[in-house]
């Protein structure tokens, strides 16, 4: 078939856009830092390089990272799936508000959440009796708190769109609710669960602020160790070794996830309207779990809100009024509202980049490769865009400084780098939300459309879009949230006269004085509240408005 070649060329051209993006803004800077560590002054300095991994602090960090990330992922997934069911499948009053509450932690600055958690957990705090301040339990709980949104939304978006008829017929044929779930629902959700879990694992394994603030200084992870080695000790060689370990771990993880995902025959989802159903008695267990989870999420948030509304124990709105000022003693160069404006501009740019690139990547990686070779290539492509989640922001940040310094890539002081760095983090989330949905589309429908004379684009709009629009909106909301809450890379790149809101919140919390602390809390509440609202609105956009796509 001669027509295959131009099509393949077009696909390759399409693939080049995200690949070049990844190469320039991720591979180049990270490669630059690793090379600087292992190949300083123009010659390889390998020597006893790998002995870095046998030093006690590094070994402890590796071990701790591994088990806290496994535990964090397991707990987050185990709690997230039932919550996704309750919030996206049941006709539960107030479900939209609850969906919003569950995602807010995702954008909160870690330093603020750290303070909120620790306020609850210190000896004199309301949960002081648990005696888990500065322990790994506190770290674990915070990891679940932050990442629950990933599981609930990724799985929820697919669950919401599941055609209930398959479940209904299984039930009609006499299957118990548990059997229906295990044999019909779970296989359909499987790709999204694995997707979400692998993202959560990467977030847990690279968690930074959470580990530092909640673990005191007793625990270190690969990420905190890289930070210490890079910013404090300037031991780039050891940092490079740890970065390579991080990369290898991500590759192994993705490979494992891919095996798990493709182990069973794919189940297909008919592009149904999905649908909510009434709450039944058999939903008691997931409902109870959801209740607990909501409580767990609300407690630190409530602490934040309450403290933001108080100054020296007196109720007041002054913290919010102060947001228009420069902080006590000029702690800030710009008022908080202006930082919020910057945050939005940057977030919109970052989201646009992440969604456009994410759609391209998702469309590509969900194609059925005709040969083993192409299938392998597509899987590798899929994995490549996950890598930025597994690499330390400090490595990428310093990497930008040492590699993007020649024309035409002299971008070090360019404001474009901020949305680009954020898009790198948001892109994998977009892909992980979209790809499972695209994969679960019945290939026969596309074939039928093609047989009826539809062009691939037309087939995409009529077959894929109805299945994908919910996940696409979820992905957009996610990208916005990631960008609005991102701190690690942003703090590296943001200029003091153009800070984002999280950067300002860190500046405020780093200055003594009750006014600044109050403003930091108020700013966090504004950031979280607004993000939840906007994510909610984005989700409510209807498919008709996407028809112009």
């Amino acid at each position: 078939m001669p027509s295959r070649w131009p099509r393949r060329a077009a696909l390759t051209a399409l693939a080049l856009i995200p690949l070049v993006f990844l190469a320039v803004f991720f591979v180049l800077p990270v490669g630059g830092m690793v090379l600087r560590g292992l190949h300083p002054d123009g010659s390889w300095a390998l020597g006893d390089t790998w002995s870095v991994l046998s030093r006690p602090p590094e070994r402890q960090a590796l071990w701790f990272t591994l088990w806290i990330a496994v535990l964090g992922t397991a707990l987050t997934t185990a709690l997230g799936v039932p919550v996704a069911y309750v919030l996206y499948r049941l006709r539960l009053p107030g479900r939209r508000v609850l969906r919003g509450i569950v995602v807010t932690p995702f954008v909160l600055p870690t330093v603020v959440v750290g303070v909120a958690f620790r306020t609850l957990l210190v000896q004199s705090g309301p949960l002081g009796f648990l005696n888990i301040d500065a322990s790994w339990v506190a770290i674990l709980l915070a990891l679940v708190f932050f990442n629950l949104a990933v599981v609930v939304r990724t799985v929820g978006a697919v669950w919401e769109g599941l055609d209930p008829r398959a479940e209904e017929s299984a039930a009609a044929l006499g299957a118990s609710p548990w059997q229906v779930f295990r044999t019909v629902t779970l296989p359909a959700l499987r790709p999204s669960i694995i997707s979400a879990a692998s993202v959560v694992f990467l977030f847990c394994a690279t968690a930074f602020g959470v580990v530092l603030i909640l673990g005191g200084t007793r625990y270190s992870t690969i990420e905190t160790q890289i930070y210490l080695l890079t910013t404090n000790l300037l031991d780039l060689r050891s940092a490079a070794v740890l970065s390579i370990v991080q990369l290898l771990a991500v590759v192994v993880l993705l490979w494992g996830a891919e095996i798990a995902r493709s182990r069973k025959q794919r189940t297909t989802v008919t592009a149904g309207r999905g649908g909510l159903r009434a709450v039944r008695f058999s939903d008691a267990i997931p409902l109870a779990l959801t209740g607990l989870v909501v409580l767990f999420v609300v407690a630190p948030l409530a602490t934040l809100v309450v403290r933001s509304l108080q100054i020296d124990g007196v109720w007041t709105l002054d913290n919010y009024r102060h947001l228009a000022s420069d902080g006590a003693d000029n702690a800030l160069l710009v008022p908080v509202w202006q930082a919020l404006d910057n945050s939005w501009r940057i977030a919109i740019d970052a989201t646009a980049m992440a969604v456009v690139l994410g759609v391209i990547v998702s469309v590509l990686v969900t194609r059925r490769g005709s040969t083993r070779h192409t299938r392998g290539l597509l899987t590798a492509l899929d994995g490549a865009f996950m890598l930025p989640l597994g690499i330390s922001a400090v490595t990428v940040g310093f990497g930008f400084l040492i590699t993007l310094n020649h024309p035409p890539l002299d971008l070090r002081s360019s404001p474009i780098l901020i949305p680009i760095a954020q898009a790198l983090v948001a892109l994998p989330l977009v892909v992980r939300t979209l790809a499972p949905a695209l994969r679960s589309t019945d290939e026969r429908q596309r074939q039928a459309a093609a047989a009826l004379g539809a062009s691939p684009l037309r087939a995409m709009v009529t077959v894929d879009l109805p299945v994908v629009w919910r996940p696409l909106l979820a992905a957009t909301g996610f990208a916005l949230a990631v960008s609005l809450g991102e701190f690690g890379a942003t703090s590296f790149l943001a200029q003091p006269d153009h800070p984002t809101l999280p950067v300002v919140i860190y500046a405020l919390i780093g200055h003594p004085g009750a006014v600044n602390f109050g403003m930091a809390l108020a700013g966090s509440v504004v950031l979280a509240g607004m993000t939840a609202l906007v994510m909610g609105l984005v989700e409510r956009l209807h498919v008709t408005s996407m028809g112009a796509f």
Binding site: I213, T231, D349, L493
Partner: protein
């Protein structure tokens, strides 16, 4: 046909990609909103300052510099002093700026040893030479400000609990003060590192680990950063913590003033003095502007703005301090000190030993 569709999709994607990025460029370079207007100023009129996150200077102050010299300052800030130092070392040969501020005495020799700064030593104001570095490093780094990292006590809490507050480092290991002290950690916080250096200076390279063992046995809480020690644990900080003794700065009593009294005080025999320096970056695009900015930082307008903006003391003795600083921010006569070259040489070892002692 199919191919053209896909290419069209790719083209749309590419166009929208560049389009949206540009919107951010234009918005951030809008001179009316920045006040610095770096995009409109000719390159040789821009001075780029490389500094840390704690840099705070009012726009009016930088406008004064522009009025005096014609140069416009563009600030590039990230991380702490260590991050700035490492950034300078890593970008040797293609620096991101012209002048640097914020390298302290704990990182000074890392920068001067790496040869990333030009020699420049302007005339110092009265009293500033006391803070200058020794030897070759002094030619590259000019002292601008200093501050003391000291143990602070919440006297109000001690009064309420009818307890004498501690008065020395030794006191912190006494049973009377069990579970009352919080300090940021040395590995993750600059004041934490300064405190470690105080103890190394006082107890010697052979004795400090023993002191820290006793400190930890007495229930000392080590947090990762200054902000959560202050906002969560300290009784006189942002929240209502349960520890009345904190490792912080000697200027902190100025933030706890009520009426004409401060409810907290710094223990002046526990302090480590941190000095911040400025220098001209080697390979600067605008070396003349960089030198002018170093001189400006030594001038009285900038020196006077240091205490209220960055919570540090001016090196110029003649510059008047704010009224509450005169009363409540006491300067130790003899702070603890460790020679900068020693710190550079032993930083990794000391931090490792410190982590071993505190993790136990």
């Amino acid at each position: 046909m199919r191919a053209t569709h896909l290419i069209a999709l790719g083209a749309v994607a590419a166009v929208s990609l560049t389009g949206c990025s540009l919107s951010s460029t234009t918005s951030t370079n809008d001179p009316t909103s920045t006040g610095t207007g770096s995009a409109t100023a000719p390159t040789n009129k821009t001075v780029t300052l490389v500094t840390h996150d704690s840099w705070v200077a009012p726009k009016s102050l930088l406008a004064k510099f522009t009025a005096q010299t014609g140069y416009v300052v563009k600030v590039s800030s990230s991380g702490d002093a260590g991050q700035v130092a490492n950034q300078l070392v890593l970008t040797k040969g293609s620096p991101v700026g012209d002048v640097t501020f914020g390298i302290d005495n704990t990182f000074a020799t890392r920068v001067t040893d790496a040869g990333v700064l030009d020699d420049y030593s302007p005339a110092l104001p009265d009293g500033a030479s006391a803070y200058a570095l020794k030897g070759a490093a002094a030619k590259q780094l000019t002292p601008i400000d200093f501050s003391d990292v000291c143990v602070n006590v919440d006297n109000a809490w001690f009064n309420k609990h009818k307890l004498q507050p501690p008065t020395s480092l030794d006191d912190l290991t006494k049973p009377a003060y069990k579970n009352l002290f919080v300090t940021p950690g040395a590995a993750t916080s600059s004041p934490g590192m300064a405190f470690l250096l105080s103890t190394i200076s006082k107890y010697g390279t052979s004795g400090w680990q023993g002191y820290w063992k006793k400190l930890m046995a007495n229930g000392t809480k080590v947090t990762s950063g200054w902000s959560d020690a202050w906002n969560v644990d300290y009784t006189a900080g942002g929240g209502k913590g349960d520890r009345p003794i904190i490792l912080s700065y000697n200027s902190d009593p100025t933030t706890t003033v009520k009426g004409d009294k401060s409810s907290t005080s710094a223990l002046l025999n526990t302090c480590f003095q941190s000095v911040e320096y400025a220098g001209v970056i080697k390979g600067a695009k605008n070396p003349a502007g960089a030198k002018a900015f170093v001189r400006f930082m030594l001038g009285s307008a900038f020196q006077k703005a240091l205490p209220p903006n960055m919570y540090v003391f001016p090196v110029d003795k003649r510059v008047p301090l704010p009224a509450d600083w005169k009363t409540f921010a006491k300067i130790p006569a003899k702070p603890w000190s460790v020679p900068p070259a020693e710190i550079s040489k032993n930083r990794a070892t000391w931090l490792q030993q410190w982590q071993d002692v505190t993790a136990g």
